[in-house]
Structure formats: structure tokens, C-alpha cells
Symmetry: C2
Subunit: 360 residues, 2 copies
């Protein structure tokens, strides 16, 4: 017989190297517990959480270089990316709008295109897994409603040349969306040009439930101007507020409160400290892996991709290490706040031991 | 200066008569707290919560009369309804599919139609706010991909004639979706024909975070056959599982765990007791309101709509009562688990006192 739900426990993060979610900050967890029964999708009824959402959006704007942000706390990067495509489609003058994105863009853009009935033009990246500006330029035409730039790619942690993509989009009369779902909490400290104050960015995804250390689910959609959200709004009879711009209806009050709490606690110094810790650790890991002869796609942000022999990849997964692959089969190691030097030493020990066993 | 997030509290449910969410069951709250850092959208990494989701879907199937349900825990009724329209669009043979729904259908169908680029044909209800089968039949044609029936409408708590709508859909080669987001946890006990074992229903929305007493967000989409979810699936590189059928990517582990816990705790006896308590209380309230001369749309499920003079409606809201209106301006009172006799006596006292003040 199954144990009752109350006896079940969530997985530990001890061996999780695959996820872009992490152990929430204690303040975020406490705020989430206080707001488990509230719905930011009904802000007139649930006014306390609506106020926290406004504060979270303001702080996310500060992080992304935008003084008066428009936006909301989404269920995650997928919803934020879908809504960026949705707004672009609705604002497009073309009857047959297309979206141009590098092949490094998250699969949520595929989901968005299928859902929204827009053409997705996926273009190759350059030799180092960043958007190739010439390739993007070649794909853009008069029907392009949106160009996507990735600031911290899911597979390799790469940051696209956002200002060049923004110039290109601007020349073509297209909007520019930056997907910084994972990277956004590192990028204010890494020296990249990525945000609203670095380029003509129209909308941006940045997720508090990833490096921001909120609880799941708490993503973020930000926009430079009000018309982005206006383009998404539907009327809401029988709520006390007139319109709703979110993809979902009911939303997580826990996620919103946790996002506000984590940002209050950690922005900017806590996030700066985490960036510095994580990037140093990732660079060390890349050297360790490379020194063992495994081909490494070196870190730009705290993420390493490493080409392990298939048998070894399977063997470490068999020992409970949560490890996911890139499209071409490298193992991705995401150095999240729950991943410390001890975790990575155990992982390297497991690799070394298993490499002998599987005979690679 | 604002108090810190940690000092903020969620609204109390004491005067909330507008919401279809409620105070979660203690077991649901505990399960949510244990799974705040898990993501059912990544089931290979977060396997414990994936197991709970399968259990929750099985119990929801039992509740809705389906032995081997396909489905998942959504962010709420909006996502479930959007995905029902999405599946119908993708499975339709027509290039120009339409959806036929009664005017009592939730605004999420408007959202779905806009998002998905399908035509929504909204048809009048009968004199008692239920779908008019003849009007639906007149709107259905060869391009109809989906007929929507509502089992517990948001405005009046009405249950459409689901078997008649199902026959009609079946004859037209269309799918039938039942929106029982709110009603679904009452309907197994109310004697209505509404579920998979009562009619040829293809998909159904039923939300654990409403009368099910899970935490927010936990909705439910159920489908009779596997192809409904197959029609929604997109490939998921860099996750350890191959496809994903949800609208969002990351999802709430707290919501999923809470749904499983609440269903384990309350299905069926706890929900039956709540239905009996709530319907008796609602019938009493309807008599009390009617006795005061306010026109009442009497209860079919635990929800009353009452036509209050505008000045009185505003005056009670001014005292902190959360009360939302129907499209034609009646106040809706949803008798949720947090609403007891004492709540309603206080509300009636406030009405009586304020009626004198505002001079109605």
C-alpha cells in the first residue's frame, strides 16, 4: 500500500544538476506559506497579494533596467515567452506574422508558435552557440513581428548579442523579446548588455523561481510600454476588476509572495554574492571536467555542458544524479544555489569511479 | 514605509462571498508546504510530485466517472478550458474550426478563442440560465470542433443539459467539453447527469483548488482518450522526458501535492458532507433574501444570485464584503466551505442595517 500523501516528501536537491529551479530562500518559503490560499488573478478579492505583485514587478524592473515596468508574475518562463509572442502577434500589422529566434531559444517558443498560429523561423547559432546576427537578419522580413534574443540559454548558458539584435529588430519594424528566464538574476553582475537600459528591448522574461530563489511557480514578464499588456487583456465579467492580461486565470499567490520576499531579501547584494560564488565554482568545474579529457563547452554564466560517453552518462544517472542533455547529447550541469563545491566533488568522484566500471 | 513582506498577511476569508477559491484543507496545506520547491513540469527530476499527480488524476477520474482518465493538474479552470479548445482545434478536420458555447460559459473560452484563433459562437441561454439546446443546435455546423456545456455556471451555478448537448455534438462530429471547474466537487452528490459515465463527454474541467479544498493553483483537465493529450504535446529537449502537454511549462508542485492530499482526505465522504451542508445553507439564504423582497435566482448548486439596489451593493462592498456581480448586475454569493451560517447572518445584518442608511 502507498504511504499517505502526508508521509510523502519532495525530492532532495542533493543530486539535482539538471533543474533551473532550486531550494527557495527561507523568507520566500515563509511568504509562500502565508499566501497559499490567495489568487493574484482576482486582485480585488485578494488585494494583499496584488500589492505584493506590484512590488515584485517594480523590483524585477529595477533588476532589468526599467524604471516603470509593465508586467506580471507568470507561472514561469514558458508563460512569459508565450505572452511575449502573443502580444507581438496581436500588435502586428501583418496578417501572417512570423517570429525569428535562434535555435538556442527555449522550446516554449515552439509551444507559443503552435498555440498562436504564427510561423517560427529558427535560425542557426554561431560556432559558440550564440545567435548569429547575420542569420537572424536573413530570416527577418516585413512580416516579422518579433525577434527573440536569449540571455542565458538553457543548453549552454550563452548570452546573445542583444544590442545588435535590437537594432536589427528596430530597423525591421519588429519587436524584440529577451528570454532571460534563467540568466536574469546573474546578468546584472556579469557585465553583459542584456536589459532594457542596454538596448531597445520591448519585452523580457526573468523568473524569480529560478536563480531568484522564490518558490515554484513564479516567472516574470516585463514590458517597456503599457500597450504590450493591453494587447493581451481580455474582459473579466464577474471579477471585481475589468480585464486580465495573464495566460492563466487563477495564479499562484504563493509564487507572487515568495517572489516579493526573495527580491526584498536578496536584491541586489544577495544575488551579486550568488553570481560570484556560482561563476567561480562553474569555472572550477569546467577545468576539472576538461582535465579529465571530457570536451567542455566552457561557462559564460554558471552552466557547463560536457560531452560524456553515453555509458557514463547513463551510469551516473543510474546513481540518482539528475542530469539532462542538450539537443546534441552533452550533459548540462546547472550550478544553481543548491549546488556547492561538495556536490560537485561527489559528482566528479562518481564520474571517476564509474568511468572505470563502464570501461571508458 | 511599507512593512516587510514577511509581516504581510493574506486576506481573511471572513467576508469573501465572491471567490470560488477557499481556505484549503489542513492536509492540503501541509502537502503544499512539503512540495513548494518541486516542478511537476519536469517529472523526471521531480519524480515524487509526478507520482502524486498521477494519483490525483486517477481520483479526479473516479469523481467524474472515468475509470482510466488521461489528464493533468492545470493552473486552474482557465488553463483546462483553453487546453480543451486547443485539443479540439488541433484534432479538427476543418481549416476554420468553431466552438459553440452558451453565454453562461466562463470568460476563459473567450480567452481561448482569441489565443487560438478559433471562432467562438456564443448562444443565448434559456429563461433559467441554462444552455438552450435548440439554440446550440442552430449554431453548430460542419466546422464545429467543440461544443461546451457548463456544469455549475460561474454566474448562477446552473447545470446545462449535458446528455442532450453530448448527443448533439456527437451527431455533428464535434467534441463535447464540460466545464465543471467549480461544480465538479458537488455534482457527484447532487443527482445531475454531468460526467463521463452520464454522457459522451470528451473532456472535462474540474478544479481541486475550488470546492476540492486544495491550495491555489490546482485545476484539472480530464479526457476520455489519450489522443486529447497527444494533440497538445510538444517535444521537450533538455528535459529528461520527451513531451509536455501542459499550457505552462513549470507548474506548481504545491498545487499538485495539495490536490492529491485533499482528494485522499475528502473523496467521497468529506465532499458529500460539504455538498449537503452548503446546499442546505444556500437554500436558507435564498429564502432569507427573497423574504426581504430582493429578487433571487434560486440555487441549483451552492450559489445564489440576488438583485440588490446599486446603492446597497456598493454600501456592503464598502464594509469589506467581497462581492462580485453577474453580467446583468446581480450580486453573486458563492457558498464555499469557508462560508458558514454565521458569515451569512452577519451579511444579512449588514444588508438590513445599510438598507436603512442608503434609503432603499
Amino acid at each position: 500500500m502507498q504511504p499517505s500523501v502526508g508521509e510523502r516528501r519532495s525530492q532532495s536537491f542533493d543530486r539535482v544538476l539538471s533543474s533551473m529551479c532550486t531550494e527557495p530562500h527561507p523568507a520566500a518559503r515563509a511568504a509562500a506559506e502565508a499566501f497559499l490560499a490567495s489568487n493574484p488573478g482576482d486582485p480585488a478579492t485578494y488585494d494583499a497579494v496584488a500589492e505584493l505583485e506590484a512590488e515584485a514587478v517594480d523590483l524585477l524592473g529595477e533588476l532589468a533596467g526599467l524604471a516603470e515596468p509593465h508586467g506580471y508574475v507568470t507561472s514561469g518562463g514558458t508563460e512569459a515567452n508565450v505572452q511575449a509572442v502573443h502580444a507581438a502577434r496581436n500588435l502586428a500589422e501583418s496578417d501572417d506574422p512570423n517570429v525569428v529566434a535562434p535555435e538556442s531559444a527555449h522550446f516554449s517558443f515552439t509551444k507559443a508558435a503552435e498555440l498562436l498560429g504564427v510561423e517560427l523561423r529558427t535560425v542557426p547559432t554561431d560556432g559558440d552557440h550564440r545567435a548569429d546576427v547575420d542569420a537572424v537578419a536573413a530570416a527577418v522580413d516585413a512580416d516579422t513581428a518579433l525577434v527573440v534574443g536569449v540571455a542565458g540559454s538553457t543548453e549552454y548558458g550563452r548570452v546573445d548579442p542583444i544590442p545588435a539584435l535590437a537594432d536589427l529588430a528596430s530597423d525591421a519594424g519588429s519587436r524584440l523579446h529577451v528570454d532571460a528566464a534563467w540568466g536574469g538574476f546573474h546578468l546584472p553582475f556579469s557585465g553583459h548588455d542584456w536589459g532594457f537600459d542596454d538596448a531597445a528591448v520591448d519585452s523580457l522574461t526573468v523568473d524569480p523561481h529560478k536563480v531568484g530563489r522564490a518558490v515554484v511557480p513564479a516567472g516574470g514578464l516585463l514590458a517597456r510600454d503599457a500597450r504590450t499588456l493591453d494587447a493581451l487583456a481580455v474582459e473579466t465579467p464577474y471579477l471585481e476588476t475589468p480585464t486580465q492580461a495573464s495566460l492563466t486565470g487563477t495564479r499562484s499567490g504563493a509564487g507572487v509572495a515568495a517572489a516579493a520576499a526573495a527580491l526584498e531579501e536578496l536584491w541586489p547584494d544577495g544575488y551579486r554574492a550568488e553570481y560570484e560564488r556560482a561563476i567561480d565554482l562553474t569555472e572550477w568545474l569546467a577545468v576539472e571536467l576538461g582535465g579529465r579529457g571530457y570536451p567542455v563547452v566552457g561557462p559564460e554564466l554558471p552552466l557547463v555542458a560536457v560531452d560524456l560517453p553515453d555509458a557514463l552518462f547513463e551510469a551516473v544517472r543510474g546513481e540518482g544524479w539528475k542530469l539532462a542533455g542538450t539537443g546534441t547529447g552533452e550533459a548540462r550541469i546547472v550550478v544553481m544555489p543548491h549546488v556547492d563545491r561538495g556536490t560537485l566533488e561527489s559528482f566528479l568522484d562518481a564520474l571517476d569511479r564509474l568511468a572505470g566500471t563502464v570501461g571508458v
